[in-house]
Subunit: 779 residues, 2 copies
């Protein structure tokens, strides 16, 4: 390949370093009004009345809008493609502002003013009278209270969004299987682990906060310029929320400073749109603060899983069971799909000889709304599965590496339409073990005593690429030949900081023969202009959109070659047929000899300006994808645990990924670095804590909610097992989300190796470590 | 037709009335630097040296750039499509800033500062040393001075841009033909008129001044947001001026407050682009003042024509001759094409029995640069031809209406690839004569005496539609189906205030079957995104782009119908074939019965989201036009001349147009109103006057340069002769420019009728009238 597999500089590198790349807030018109949201100070109840008279008197206030003013329409917020079948549509369970308050910080009113100061003053003057109900901030507590108020009576009377079970077979029953196993192997030859694992409520912590501005454009369209991963889906959601035709909404996405799934939901964009409409279409800017982001946007699901597993003493995994209670907060957002994905990955990660059960509840609670976050339930799945594995190994005295080699899913794994078209997991494990010095260190770290101990741990994962065939995977790409032989690449997929535009540019160059410096990707999406694509999520873009770029590029190249054949004045082309031609390094060339026949510069100028045969060469193509290939990988980590201080020092860490062809190795490595860093937070420091009685957050800011900084980061090592996947456009498969799955659990398993203590509640904070070591009398 | 021929409200009516429509200056980033240009205070010479040291010291000044700093590249500015043949390319005769000064107000330096005040202060501190040359502000004076300094020695040594002659036959010679005619008819049976006619230097006087801002975008593209009629051509010109690849330039055109041809040239956009590059790509705003606009942008060509004509005493026009000296100012801009068009129309307007000669010089002078202005040389052509006709009629005692009926061009006229595919001129004359009461009033106004006299006059014209086959006519259109069955219409043609977007919307509705309220036209062009089209000029857009919209619409509709056939779940479509289907009023219908089969709303939602057959329906099509059809028409006017005051009061005025089908009759009428108003200025008040010795303007502002206001405007009456032209997309032909051709000359001829004085210098100002009446002893 000519342009793929090269570590090109990011196409937006200079623009981002110089500040030339414009973000939503940079672009807001100077006369935009400022909007702010009033949030509820109770977590469950009703707004009985609201007095806005004093707020309206504040000079500069344009309008005060309350939950009593909004359209009586409930809408869904999830960034999923629409389904024409009602049963597959997302849950519509919220209004623009909610009279029925379901979480602390629910949106109950908004002020629009000429400036920030007037806006803040007015917000403080709104008087609210509530009726309060009892609060439940986690799934189990909600389910245990039979008298708990029903949060969404239109949908369910029991606050359960969904309850599903993935079993290995219809008749699988853990207790029966266990009974039979005892009969067959004898109880003395079996090991069972029974435990509970809890995962944290995590804030995405993207640098750019959710921000948008809305106005009614000259065409009368309600236009929202927003930091969103999903402009085309957002268009539909906003239209639903405002109850207007979908074509009357326009969403524009400038550069974005990270999303990590939080911006795969419509957050405040629908409200922003409505506020502008209420203000006569004047631009209204709505910037969400970090505090609001942490509590009022979305979080990773805290999950609480009851686990059981049975293995033979000679190291064969017989069966496993997970009963998972997933806390979904006040609104459904992505509904059950994240918990379901968690259940699926838990089930599929191992070959359980006698079967597996993965049962899952997603429950509405009075907590911040949980929804998509990078890796979409899989970090939790692996927290369940891979802590279980190490606990089995401890109990059975197995080497965790060998146990996994014997029991982990193999190349024949197939589930929900996904399969391994290429399988690199065991190769990843080999490389990781080799690089970290597994065998030597496992030996070395045996029988440690004293306050500071070393340990080594590992964790594996598998990951679906994109969301087909469960959900729609479709992408359209448009290509335009410029007058000088350079080209425009127009896509609906979104660069959100991950480097997608650079990967797309290289894919485009590969498929068109136009060198990357002459491929100008249009990074900003505008739903009125840009081809349709569902957006950035599910590690789908390089796979789905990438394939669409490839297909469109082939069509574009064909059109260029066809035009070349009309250039009768070019003697070099005389007698050539379409099958003789190719485009290579900005020339139409002879396909076999690579002889340069005519430059694209000359060809395009002629095509634009010829009297004889005038054509503005463009190509546009919709490609849908119905395949889904598993990516996989593992993390190995070597830690030093300072037991009296409760501190885990990472001495060495390596992630090895099976992601197919790397479009851009440097960017792929950076993607893994970012994911590993994010997983350190999940593993060791990040957790949004709520007062269980009031639902009020204790740490809704970045002083008290701790994300890893550069100072906390070890030297991240990354390796790849490169195999060309037959379903990826150029052999590539998922890499966006997978890097954030395994490191946290590898660390937990390394701490287990170091101290003998298997922590079952993430993150492994100093407090939890010290508490546990004290309990066990170790310090 | 369902949607064409209806007087729909302008699609931008609300946006423009409410201020929602954004113009270039509205959109400039708040941190943009301000640029201003230093203009020469001499009209011919060289900048010897420039001292910018004091200017650079002004706080807030970012940079001072002089004619010694700019790239050593001469570039063409005309808004013509590029030609791949060098001989057809425009004259490249200026730099971004000019050391060699050719007109008073030439651009010699520019200041970029943080604000207006710093910019103005710095401009004043630049010290310039000149070497001065003698000045010639008109073509004849330039040609008469054999020692005149050569302005563009790279191009011509004689200051003549071009000299051409259109003769009726190769051997036509006026003097010989006259000699032969005398022999044949006898001198006593012939009338000859010999005279000179001068037309004024006119300023376009668009409300929105030339304004642009430039920056380097995140893709590294030099981006110019500009009030221009020709974004795609501008892209090429800017690239040439900066000597960079054409694809590295991006031009964006927001709403525009009028252009009238002035914005069919690249004015300050290339300089603006370069200044931004010099300032590290930071946004730089360059707003041109009214004074600069009048002197330093473009004007209508002042022409100075020597005329002769021979007719028989029984009213047969035998032959005519025009030798026209056209003053082109300091730079070539559109070169000879405007004077050539003038020559062509002069030649073709009448059937000269024995032939015609139309000779033309276009001459570089030390005057403001003349270039395109609404009707592109034709007002001058008609000033020559139609004053000549009335002078013949006076001399021969002919009724000007009857003389024209007998001698004017007929339906067989064909010239330069243009012909009358439909011919309505004589019908227009009939209607105009009838409406104004020609016969009765001609009789009534005979033998007037006293200081206040009435007169009636008329003037005819013909006008080519678009510029083919002489120049390239090409247009691409893109259509996008939205998720709710509404659509986007994307074009490269430009709405510049004339109502093009509304006409395009109706044409689109007609061709697609999607009602105009669901057709969203994208009014702003962006050369990175928008399909290629050469822009707004030559009365071409409704004809060329309109045809392209029609063709694209047919393709789009076909794609919609093809999709419908894949919707197996729609029983109404069972058994249908593609030829059975049509789209009508937002439904796929049975072509014959108009039975509604499926709504576009349902079809589009299905197309976007179906798992079975997923397609984002778009269509894109390039259409080139090689035909050219003459439009035609006439103006009749009834005036009262107050001789002592020199005032012409228009008592009645009517223009009658043969423009094919009217896409939107109300807008067509408004277009004619505007053109008539503009012609009043040409006829009675507008003239930019220069000091012939220094080239310095006397009236470079709207206090002293007089455009007609609403107070000066009579009730404009408009009639149309509607014939469906076979070459227009829906039978339409030129209407943008023609309305501004005839009224001025009709007024002149009415004054002749009232007073017996045939004025031969436009405009007919009070000073000229009073002077002449005094000379003749009439007052």
């Amino acid at each position: 390949m000519d342009y793929i597999g090269k570590s090109n500089l990011r196409v937006d590198a200079y623009a981002k370093v110089t500040g030339n790349a414009k973000y939503s807030a940079d672009l807001a018109p100077r006369d935009a009004y400022i909007a702010k949201v009033l949030h509820s100070t109770i977590a469950n109840g009703e707004v009985v009345s609201m007095d806005v008279s004093e707020a309206k008197k504040v000079p500069g206030v344009i309008g005060v809008f309350t939950c009593f003013d909004v359209p009586d329409v409930e809408f869904p917020t999830a960034g999923h493609p629409w389904s024409v079948e009602e049963s597959h549509q997302d849950i519509a369970d919220r209004k623009l502002l909610n009279k029925r308050v379901r979480l602390y910080g629910d949106d109950i009113a908004a002020v629009v003013a000429e400036d920030n100061v007037a806006c803040d003053r007015a917000l403080k003057l709104i008087k609210v009278e509530y009726k309060e109900y009892p609060v439940h901030t986690d799934a189990r507590s909600m389910l245990n209270d039979k008298d708990a108020p029903v949060l969404h009576p239109n949908w369910r009377k029991d606050n359960i969004i969904a309850h599903t079970a993935f079993n290995s077979s219809e008749y699988f029953n853990y207790d029966e299987v266990k009974k039979n196993a005892i009969t067959k192997y004898g109880e003395e030859n079996l090991i069972e682990v029974v435990k509970n694992v809890k995962t944290p409520r995590i804030s995405h912590s993207h640098i750019e906060l959710p921000v948008s501005y809305a106005y009614v454009d000259a065409n009368g369209k309600v236009t929202v310029v927003a930091s969103t991963q999903i402009p085309h889906i957002g268009r539909r959601v906003i239209a639903q929320a405002l109850n207007i035709p979908w074509g009357k909404v326009r969403v524009i996405k400038p550069y974005i400073g990270g999303g990590f799934g939080n911006k795969q939901d419509m957050l405040y964009e629908p409200l922003n749109a409505w506020l502008s409409v209420k203000c006569g279409g004047h631009p209204v800017l709505l910037e969400i603060s970090r505090e609001e982001t942490i509590v009022c946007t979305r979080t990773r699901h805290p999950m609480d899983g009851d686990l059981r597993a049975l293995a033979t003493k000679d190291g064969r995994l017989l069966c496993r069971e997970l009963i998972n209670y997933s806390t979904n907060g006040g609104y459904a957002a992505h509904g059950h799909s994240i918990t379901a994905k968690c259940a699926g990955i838990f089930k599929n990660l191992y070959r359980d000889e006698l079967g597996v059960r993965s049962e899952a509840y997603t429950v509405w609670t009075n907590a911040p709304t949980s929804a998509a976050m990078r890796a979409y339930g899989v970090p939790q799945a692996v927290s369940f599965a891979e802590t279980l594995t190490d606990d089995i190994c401890v109990k059975g005295g197995f080497d965790p590496y060998k146990f996994r080699m014997d029991n982990i899913c193999d190349e024949n794994t197939s589930a929900g339409g996904a399969m391994f078209y290429t399988y690199g997991l065991k190769k990843c494990m080999e490389i990781g073990a080799e690089k970290i010095g597994w065998t030597k260190k496992r030996e070395e770290y045996k029988n440690q005593t004293g306050p500071i101990r070393r340990g080594i741990g590992m964790c594996c994962f598998i990951y679906q690429t994109a969301v087909a065939p469960i959900a729609l995977e479709t992408s359209t790409v448009r290509m335009i030949l410029n007058q000088d032989g350079s080209m425009q690449l127009s896509i609906g997929a979104t660069e959100i900081g991950q480097g997608a535009d650079t990967a797309f540019t290289q894919i485009c160059a590969e498929s068109t023969g136009i060198s990357p410096d002459k491929v100008f990707i249009m990074s900003s999406q505008d739903t009125d202009v840009t081809p349709f694509d569902t957006g950035a999520y599910g590690s789908r873009q390089t796979y789905v959109t990438g394939n669409s770029i490839k297909e469109c590029g082939i069509l574009f190249k064909k059109k260029i070659c066809e035009y070349a054949l009309t250039m009768e004045e070019e003697k070099s082309l005389a007698g050539k047929k379409i099958d003789d031609l190719d485009v290579f390094e900005n020339y139409v060339v002879d396909k076999n000899t690579k002889e340069k026949l005519v430059s694209l510069e000359k060809l395009s100028t002629t095509a634009f300006y010829s009297f004889k045969h005038n054509q503005h060469i463009t190509a546009e193509k919709t490609t849908d994808i119905t395949t889904n290939t598993f990516a996989s990988g593992c993390t190995f980590v070597d830690v030093e645990v300072d037991m009296p201080l409760g501190i885990i020092n990472i001495k060495d860490i390596i992630s090895v990924h099976d992601s197919g062809t790397l479009i851009n190795p440097a960017l792929a490595t950076a993607q893994v670095h970012g994911g590993m860093s994010m997983s350190l937070g999940y593993g060791m420091s990040e957790e949004l804590i709520l007062d269980p009685k009031t639902g009020k957050p204790y740490n809704d800011n970045l002083l008290e909610y701790k994300i890893p900084t550069a100072m906390d980061s070890p030297d991240f090592k990354v390796e790849f097992v490169v195999m060309k996947d037959p379903t990826g456009g150029y052999g590539n498969k998922a890499l966006g989300e997978p890097p954030t799955v395994a490191p946290a659990v590898a660390i937990r398993n390394a701490v287990l190796n170091a101290t003998g203590i298997g922590f079952n509640e993430f993150p492994l904070t100093a407090q939890r470590l010290v508490h546990e070591f004290k309990e066990k009398g170790m310090i």
